[in-house]
Symmetry: C2
Subunit: 323 residues, 2 copies
């Protein structure tokens, strides 16, 4: 079995090659930029681990890993255009550097390249792999559309359950499918594929709840971000939407006022309100609930528990961070 660290190094070496030709320069400089500013490469590691859960690592796991990492980066490029985001990983975004046209095209080319890598895998499971990938890929686009639709709504119009569904589509199904595709390569049964998929999906939701929690309550020095960044821009988060559900009418009124007026001490006042309506305690429980669900699915997979160790390690790395 390979550890998370081992696989990060192995995949990093594999992925660090040039993915694009030199010309047209603007197009391929734009596409290369997003790949060159780093990233944890979690999704390809999940594909490789999904493979190794059932069998020795096959070179196809690296092809699939490359495909899911390219896809993830394609979504970042197009999402940043839609969000008009100036920065990504502390670097200017692709559209900021190269303009919207080259950014749209760079994303398009990356999405086509995804299928170059999926086309390299062995024929006997190619159809299954592309089907699993495409389902997730379409869901990611649907999740982004729903997120954009939510942007145009008032926070109290967005139901908590709908928000969970959106987050699952936008961020978790690709983690889930990355694992499932690895399992397909490793020869995992349909039953085991389903469980590894659900493991990934629930880990993804738990991660997002933790991310929202840390943005509000995390130690800014350890987290490396300004505390309450989401609160400052009225971002719809697990915490805000649940707070609006949990709080009493007076707190509700106060919270709406803070969102509308943004006073100087908005972050502190909103955090106090979050605390008063116990959304901080709720978030920890909610994260644990999804994490628990994830591990139950991992438990259900009929392989020796030692084979599951790297996945447990990765989940704990993702879900017990303070940074």
């Amino acid at each position: 079995m390979h550890s998370f660290k081992d696989l990060t190094i192995q995949f990093g070496e594999h992925f660090s090659k040039e993915h694009f030709p030199k010309e047209p320069k603007k197009l391929y400089d734009a596409a290369s930029h997003i790949l060159n500013i780093g990233g944890k490469r979690i999704r390809p590691i999940l594909s490789i681990m999904g493979n190794e859960l059932f069998d020795d690592i096959h070179p196809d796991a690296f092809h699939v890993g490359t495909a899911v990492e390219l896809f993830h980066n394609f979504t970042l490029v197009h999402d940043d255009i839609m969000d008009k985001a100036p920065l990504r990983r502390n670097q200017p975004t692709v559209h900021t550097l190269y303009g919207d046209t080259a950014a749209i095209l760079a994303g398009d080319v990356m999405l086509i390249k995804v299928y170059e890598y999926l086309n390299k895998v062995q024929p006997h499971y190619k159809q299954k792999l592309i089907t699993a990938f495409n389902k997730a890929a379409i869901e990611v686009c649907e999740g982004q559309q729903i997120d954009m639709d939510f942007e145009d709504m008032e926070p109290e119009q967005v139901k908590y359950d709908d928000y969970v569904k959106m987050i699952a589509l936008k961020t978790s199904v690709l983690l889930a499918a990355s694992l499932q595709m690895g399992a397909i390569i490793g020869g995992g049964s349909d039953y085991n594929q389903q469980h590894i998929y659900e493991f990934g999906k629930n880990i993804g939701i738990a991660f997002q709840i933790q991310d929202d929690y840390l943005d509000a309550f995390g130690d800014p020095e350890k987290f490396g971000k300004q505390q309450g960044g989401d609160i400052l821009v009225n971002k719809k988060t697990f915490l805000l939407l649940k707070a609006l559900e949990l709080c009493n009418p007076a707190q509700h009124q106060k919270l709406k006022e803070l969102l509308a007026t943004s006073p100087d001490d908005k972050v502190n006042q909103v955090l106090e309100l979050f605390h008063d309506c116990k959304v901080d305690a709720w978030a920890e429980k909610e994260k644990d609930r999804f994490q628990q669900l994830a591990f139950e699915h991992l438990e259900s997979i009929a392989v020796l528990s030692s084979r599951k160790a790297p996945l447990v390690e990765l989940a704990n790395f993702l879900l017990n961070r303070e940074h």
Copy 2:
């Protein structure tokens, strides 16, 4: 053998089904809009004809046809965003109706759907089909980037040969690959695949020269567009770029002036200049040259000439139109 008309009806019926689910509504309304405003469906017909050139039509030709038509429509949606085009086929463009965000995502979803259809074909030629398709798909994006790069340049900075290469990438390689993919399904040899590809590519270039010619010199009543629409907006066309090469220094000066100042009778003056430097006669010859080249490639394909009849009919339809 099936005629162009037969296949248009058959494919039209096949393609007219719902391609998308209902929700998220904005995303799928945007994607459906471009499919619902019509189009000649030339590319899928080419795939089916490419198949029937070598063998009876296989259902896979309809899958591939659906894939190339979806891809073509994806490019229209994204290109219209980049060009800030308000109208397409006399209807508002997707981004005009649904905004840039939904238009980008609708294009992305259509591109993913392309591979759903390519994933349906028989395994024994799936890899070849996806390889042929992906090569063309990437070239189309490269062609669009080069076209956008040319937009930022003065007309005399764009070399005629580079313009031909750009047009080939942006518009012709997909026609070529549509035919080639049909030939793969029909069991055509690599040699025959290459010739049918070149046939499509050269027909595409000849078509574009004709399109530019008709915009300038066509009968506006038959052509259905305002005469000289390209001239009015200083569009880089085969005619303009070649005129700048063919004309003498005085004519060159005059042409540059007309582009810069856009007087009321600009169209007439530019047309007179085009005529004086014989770019109208040149365009007819140049179109014939590419058409001739295309037919030489078709000749080289080792099948009974009766099997080629529908392709000859389609080429003549495309290249002898006055409308």
